[in-house]
Point group: C2
């Protein structure tokens, strides 16, 4: 194969593979979508190599799919048009930590937990936390968010600048080290969330935060999920600026108790967290939030500030994906993600539970509630096509409802393959055409992660 030979000239024989094993490993992400094997996998080690590969692919109209940890939830990195998978595993350096300016420069392949480790020793953290041990490049591609986005924003809000290789191999630097900037088109934000369809991120300058000196966490049980969701809107309405407001249906607590022999109350539950440089401020806010929860009929309240106790509470939230999966017993699932204005969150939650139950799914709702961001697990047994159709039906109904409420088909998972069909409903034809014009301008031969994000023309 000519392409393989040319690529081998760029990266050497060690960092290119056409074996079935390597192609299989790069054929799927963390979703139910059918795997598709790329023709080959390359592991670049430098921006110059990425640029050379891009030029070669562009000349030969060969698709390139950028690859991080494959933890995406919607088919984002499945190389549906085959070609090259570019695995950034070997570009995983933390290039610089600029403590004085709270910034770090990293390569895209660095894993979130490795970065967290490295930064925590200096009293700093990078705020986005999607749960999975994603790569920073993957988080940038999908604009990952997670539990801390409520206070600190999504990945988008924590990236100051990028180095990006375009489809034609040119190397673009976006943004600057200045927090404030009003200098031309905001290229950084065009690439963040573009899921590898507009360019290949080879370096990122990230905004860091000092680890807050005071943290208070509470676990609050409610009689119904709806009561909890209503409390969320009131807490947000008081502008207490919580760092996290997580909602969990009772099932998640029951599964936790079953799997880990804990004894959490098996009721709809909210996790509330405040962080601050002032202990008093944290306490005052938590008191106000808990008082709102009581007004909404909270039946169980436990508040802690100790680090180990807090970590223990957070296990309730962080393990949900694994516990849910374990119960699928080999079945597949759709991990739904939609987001609405927070005042409509309770309505969305009620609708989600009702639609799921009517179609035979337990109401495994879960939400970054303060952001109006709802997750719903829709699992189905292997080979059960009927259940599979019903899962897709519920998923579709939920997206329609979110859009009707002024929201979005994805708060944080991104579009990938799964949500392409909703882009026009959410954004309208003119906006999708504007996006397509940008895609065509930056990637005229459509080599970068083709058939993702934008719907069929």
């Amino acid at each position: 194969m000519d392409l393989a030979r040319s690529l081998r000239e760029i990266v050497g024989a060690d960092r290119l593979s056409v074996t079935d094993a390597d192609r299989d490993l790069h054929a799927h992400d963390d979703s139910y979508n059918e795997p598709v094997r790329p023709d080959l996998v390359v592991w670049p080690r430098s921006t110059a190599e990425v640029a050379e590969i891009a030029r070669l692919a562009n000349e030969t109209s060969t698709p390139i799919t950028a690859w991080g940890a494959a933890s995406s939830a919607g088919g984002h990195v499945i190389p549906v048009r085959r070609g090259i998978v570019m695995d950034f595993e070997q570009m995983n350096r933390i290039v610089e930590v600029d403590h004085a300016n709270f910034q770090a420069v990293v390569q895209p392949g660095v894993l979130r937990l490795d970065l967290e480790d490295h930064l925590s020793r200096q009293g700093l953290f990078f705020a986005p936390d999607p749960g999975a041990n994603a790569t920073v490049g993957g988080m940038i591609a999908n604009n990952a968010a997670g539990v801390r986005a409520l206070k600190y924003g999504a990945t988008r809000d924590n990236v100051l600048g990028l180095e990006v290789v375009l489809a034609n191999g040119s190397i673009v630097r976006t943004g600057s080290r200045s927090i404030k900037q009003s200098s031309g088109y905001q290229l950084t934000q065009i690439f963040v969330g573009s899921e590898g369809t507009l360019g290949l991120v080879t370096e990122a300058t990230l905004k860091l935060r000092p680890i807050p000196s005071h943290v208070a966490t509470a676990i609050v049980g409610f009689p119904t999920v709806e009561a909890a969701a209503a409390a969320v809107a009131d807490i947000m309405g008081l502008a207490l600026e919580p760092a996290a407001l997580e909602l969990l249906a009772a099932d998640h607590l029951r599964w936790m108790n079953e799997d880990e022999a804990t004894s959490f109350a098996e009721v709809p539950t909210m996790l509330i967290e405040f962080t601050d440089a002032s202990a008093t401020s944290v306490e005052e806010r938590m008191e106000a939030a808990i008082s709102i929860c009581r007004d909404h009929g909270a039946i169980e309240v436990g508040a802690v500030t100790d680090h180990a106790e807090r970590a223990n509470l957070w296990r309730v939230r962080h393990g949900v994906r694994h516990r849910y999966r374990r119960r699928l017993a080999g079945g597949a699932w759709i991990g739904m993600d939609v987001s609405v204005p927070v005042a409509s969150f309770a309505e969305l939650v009620s609708y989600a539970i009702a639609s799921a139950e009517q179609n035979g799914f337990p109401g495994a709702v879960l939400g970054h509630a303060g952001d109006g961001n709802l997750h719903l697990g829709l699992g189905y047994p292997p080979g059960d096509d009927d259940a599979r159709s019903r899962a897709h039906l519920v998923s579709g109904l939920l997206v329609d409802k979110a859009i009707e409420l002024g929201g979005t088909c994805s708060g944080e998972h991104g579009i990938g393959l799964d949500k392409r069909g909703y882009m026009t409903a959410e954004h309208g034809r003119a906006a999708v055409e504007a996006m397509r014009a940008i895609k065509t301008a930056l990637d005229p031969h459509n080599i970068l992660n083709p058939e993702k994000v934008l719907p069929e023309p």
Copy 2:
């Protein structure tokens, strides 16, 4: 003129003008740049009219320059290629205030102070505050920022969605009412800061905040500007999250005392403000900040929390532009704006003062210091070409220095005409070409505010 006849069919005779008076009024902004009169001025009243005008202009390759309050500081709205000025004065409605979600939908012509008035009666505010009574459309075009950006971000961070008419007349809706969104390319942020070169904003959904219940403001005098700048880096390094950290050279205080018979200490001064839902938190933070200032040799400290006293302190800052201008006695000036990482702010300030003084300008520095954003007034007498050249020299030196320090040629004023020449130095050729590709994709006939933002090809 055929164009005038066609436009009259769209907006009627009342809302189109070819008079010299109206063309003169729409020939300049708030900068030293030479005025250029447009061929005609139109005042649309609806998105549909804007779209019809755009279609007509696109077919005839007629430039359109969008017009707000003309308070831009770099020639942004001067119609250098003549054609149509589209004045949004009559599209100034506050369409909706969504109190539950802290959002407002407004037309682009609404004036910042009118919006502030309207919102304050509901306990809300829109955070960006560039000083001038700009229109919201103009603030979006330039990504305006101001004193509160330190805590609340620039306009960019406070716009959730837009309605935009493209050059071809198609009407695009960007973003959603959901705070969190990961759904396709971030079109909103492509248009914010694009200075009317990519589309015509006809409606905006803004993020609001509740007016904080507790505010503390301090005025701190320092022996030197450099000492004050050094204190800034330390306050930011402690992550106290100030809402404002403004630096003023001694001249500004002297001019204030002269003009308003006040008795402020005529020394380099910092204004510090903290806002919060908790009184204790505000006090604790202010105490920590003042203690840092004392470590840097602060010689005067006054702290207030009373509303009237705070307003009085802020007069020191808010009037600087007028007081500076008054002293120019008919001369012109360059209102410089550059921004750097905050740890390099002190170095930038020292450099600015030295360069200005060496070239015969008093050191009228001023800064949104917590953001690393420095302003410097470079005034010159009418007809003094030598002083004018020296002003441009200092301005250029300061931009070079800011870029060298990892910063930007504009923190908040934007590019307009003045900074086009620095785009390649700051962003590199490849990034500028990527910006140009986007411009060409969205405005192929280059009708929208031509000869702005991007350098000559």
